[in-house]
Amino acid sequence: MNRQKRRTGRRHPLATVALLAIGLVFTGGAYAALSAGTTAQAETDTTSQQTIDEGKKLFQANCATCHGLSAQGTDNGPSLIGVGAAAVDFQVGTGRMPMQMQGPQAQEKPVQFTDEQVKQLAYYVASLGPGPDIPSDHLVNGGGDAASGAELFRINCAMCHNVAGAGGALTEGKFAPPLTDVSGVHIYEAMVTGPQNMPVFNDLNISPEDKRDIITYLKYVQDNASPGGFELGSLGPVAEGLFIWIFGLGAIVAITVWITAKSN
């Protein structure tokens, strides 16, 4: 069929009309989506009190055991007054909270709530006291300067998270997690809130634009496979040494056995 069409070599008169229609649908759709976005934004503003109330219910059902009924903190969990929406979005949005058990540090788990519920919780906690907000999209979409981000990452982050974001060990069984599949929003929120034992990097230490650069670099590392081939976990010389002993020398020893075995 295709071949036949090509042989005629002429565009159907309706093609232009179809193209126009498609174009209109796309631009219209995009416009609709955009305006829907803005209206959605407006909706959150207007319905924020409702969101907060929903969040409060969720909080009291799921978090109050450790953090107290009004998030004032207990012996089992810190006060959440003033930690901001960013902290909640990070802790709950990565599954670290609610915690499964007390341990050296909260582990990443499958997320317990829907995105909407996470937002409700976040805005409830944010309503208790001023704190860092969830960052806007332009800061976390990876549109910054990767080179500047890489330099900042090496100075501020690599000693715990490894230069390639592969993670690393801390004291007494704690560890800095790998950043290889963490979303930009969560990286940003971690920097501003300092979850677990991570220090806080406020906007006067690393400016929002610098944070965007750091996320851009991490996105670059996530999106671009290593030019040299498989990365062996980006763990550096330990992985390389184990590889050459087990697979390199292992394969070669198998070959020596073949070379010296009597041919059959």
């Binding site: 490894n162 060990a169 670059y220 290593s226 030019p227 010389p237 390199g248 020398l249």
Partner: protein, 535 residues
């Protein structure tokens, strides 16, 4: 062609013959070929491990030469302007920038760089495995003691080559490695501060070190490695290769395929295989991604900062020192947290280097040994080797204590404490277990020689008793199990002046330690009288 040749020979010559004659009349090579060409080379997989090292060194030389055409060993600061986006505009040394250019702007450059580095890791690993083979089969005994020393020197030179090369790109990882070397050198009593000052041409990091390491890396060290390899191989020719015990093999012969053609084909082919394996690894697996590490800067560091595997034991030794081993005494700082690991490693190296002479002194055996031992037939030597391996492995593992902690869900403190135990107590446990295992295996060998193999066939005797039929060994299989040497502990005897010296006592106690619980090979008499005891 050959008819036109002005030779006095009446017979016609082929072109190859004429060419050979032409060369020989100018080089006297015929004698050499006659001597070497049909030498027998014993065949066993473990005899090829040294070749793995040799061939990976050839790959290193070839790939390294290519790299020298592009690498610039300068620490002058430039702003990177190559293809790798996350480093664009970053200030770095010319050495780092040229290494990045090799990786991203020279076609095939990254491949050659990765081959060079993987081959270097393989080179040192192959030397290590080769040395273990020599040790555990006793192939270092007379007349090969010097060759053991030469080989071990090569191992150390290879590590030096590796470390100098690792430091050349001036990236963050290797820069922190040099920082550790600087701290290590400064901790040496008396000369440390000045030694570091001279090495780095002033304060750390300075602007000299990469150029200096480059001189060592591409001139002095490779020249030494090549010279020692040549010496090593000359001795292999002079001594002829060892062989394992087997029917027809004696201390006076060497049995195997001739060098020309079979051995040459196998070794020649093996060279290309090694080259190919390294190429395959370099094509598929990243090594030393300096673009992730970024340029050296004394402020940042990466989690999981480790040296290449062969320096790991030294780094691990530093990690295992408990807190507080540093004192100010006589107005000077005594850094035992550095002196102790350095001295411990130094003693270990000297013991390994001297081992052939120590064992020769204990046994007093002055004969040549060309038959390699099975490890079980020298239980004490094998056990000492296992202890040494455990010690080394403990230090080596300590160099990755943080990675062990994160990957096995342990605390790094726990890993360090466990490895401290491995390094201090582990060798004794390994010694004891290995010695018992060796002796048990020797006893099993005796059983087999005396009573034959278990055939797996159960027979009921007329009296109702069930027995398993044992098949006797043929004489060839038996020879493999009985042809080893057994030593008696040295008896203390007064010397000519009727005295027993302290040295004699010491030697006797070492000899007892070595040979007290030896197992002797089965003799003909034992087999005859042993027959019929069972079945």
């Amino acid at each position: 062609m050959s008819t036109a040749s002005p030779t006095t020979d009446t017979q016609k010559r082929s072109f190859t013959t004429s060419a050979a004659v032409y060369v020989n009349e100018r080089t006297s090579i015929a004698g050499f070929i006659k001597e070497l060409g049909r030498k027998a080379f014993p065949d066993h997989w473990s005899f090829l491990l040294g070749e793995v090292a040799l061939f990976s060194f050839v790959v290193i030389l070839i790939s390294g030469t290519f790299l020298t055409f592009f690498f610039q060993a300068s620490m002058a600061e430039v702003h990177y302007d190559g293809s790798y986006v996350p480093l664009k505009g970053v200030e770095m040394s010319v050495a780092m920038a040229s290494t990045l250019d090799i990786s991203f702007d020279v076609r095939g450059g990254l491949f050659v760089r990765q081959m060079h580095h993987w081959a270097a890791l393989l080179f040192v690993a192959a030397i290590g495995l080769h040395m273990l083979r020599i040790y555990f089969t006793g192939a270092f005994r007379k007349p090969r003691e010097f060759n053991w020393v030469i080989g071990f020197t090569l191992f150390i030179l290879a590590m030096a080559e590796g470390f100098t090369g690792y430091s050349l790109p001036d990236d963050l990882l290797s820069g922190n490695g040099l920082r550790i070397i600087d701290g290590l050198v400064k901790g040496i009593p008396v000369i440390g501060t000045w030694t570091s000052f001279l090495i780095f041409g002033g304060e750390f990091p300075g602007t000299q070190i990469v150029g200096r390491l480059y001189s060592l890396h591409i001139m002095i060290l490779p020249a030494l490695v090549i010279a020692f390899i040549a010496l090593h191989l000359v001795f292999v020719v002079v001594h002829k290769h060892t062989q394992y015990a087997g029917p027809g093999k004696t201390q006076q012969n060497a049995v195997g395929p001739p060098i020309l053609p079979i051995y040459a084909a196998k070794a020649g082919g093996f060279f290309f295989i090694i080259f190919g394996v390294i190429a395959l690894i370099a094509a598929l697996f990243t090594i030393n991604p300096i673009w992730n590490y970024g340029p050296y800067d004394p402020s940042p560091v990466s989690a999981g900062t480790q040296p290449d595997w062969y320096i790991g034991f030294a780094d691990g030794a530093l990690r295992l020192i408990p807190p507080g081993w540093e004192f100010v005494w006589l107005d000077r700082t005594w850094s035992f947290n550095i002196i102790v690991p350095l001295v411990a490693i130094g003693i270990f190296i000297v013991l390994v280097l001297m081992y052939p002479f120590i064992e020769a002194w204990i046994t007093g055996d002055k004969r040549e040994h060309h038959i390699a031992d099975r490890p079980r037939n020298a239980p004490t030597r094998t056990a000492i080797g296992a202890a040494g391996v455990t010690f080394y492995a403990g230090l080596w593992a300590a160099a990755s204590s943080d990675i062990l902690a994160t990957h096995f869900w342990l605390t790094m403190e726990g890993v360090i404490h466990a490895l401290q135990a491995v390094v201090v107590i582990g060798p004794f446990i390994a010694y004891f277990i290995t010695k018992r295992v060796c002796i048990a295996l020797q006893k099993k060998d005796r059983e087999i020689v005396l009573h034959g193999y278990e055939s797996g066939r159960i027979v009921r005797l007329p009296g109702g008793e069930y027995i398993e039929v044992h098949e006797p060994l043929d004489e060839y299989d038996r020879w493999r199990l009985v042809s080893f040497e057994s030593y008696a502990p040295l008896m203390i005897r007064p010397n000519a002046r009727g005295k027993i010296t302290a040295g004699q006592r010491f030697r006797a106690s070492l000899s007892r330690w070595f040979f007290e619980d030896r197992i002797a090979p089965v003799t003909k008499g034992e087999l005859e009288s042993g027959h019929g005891e069972h079945h």
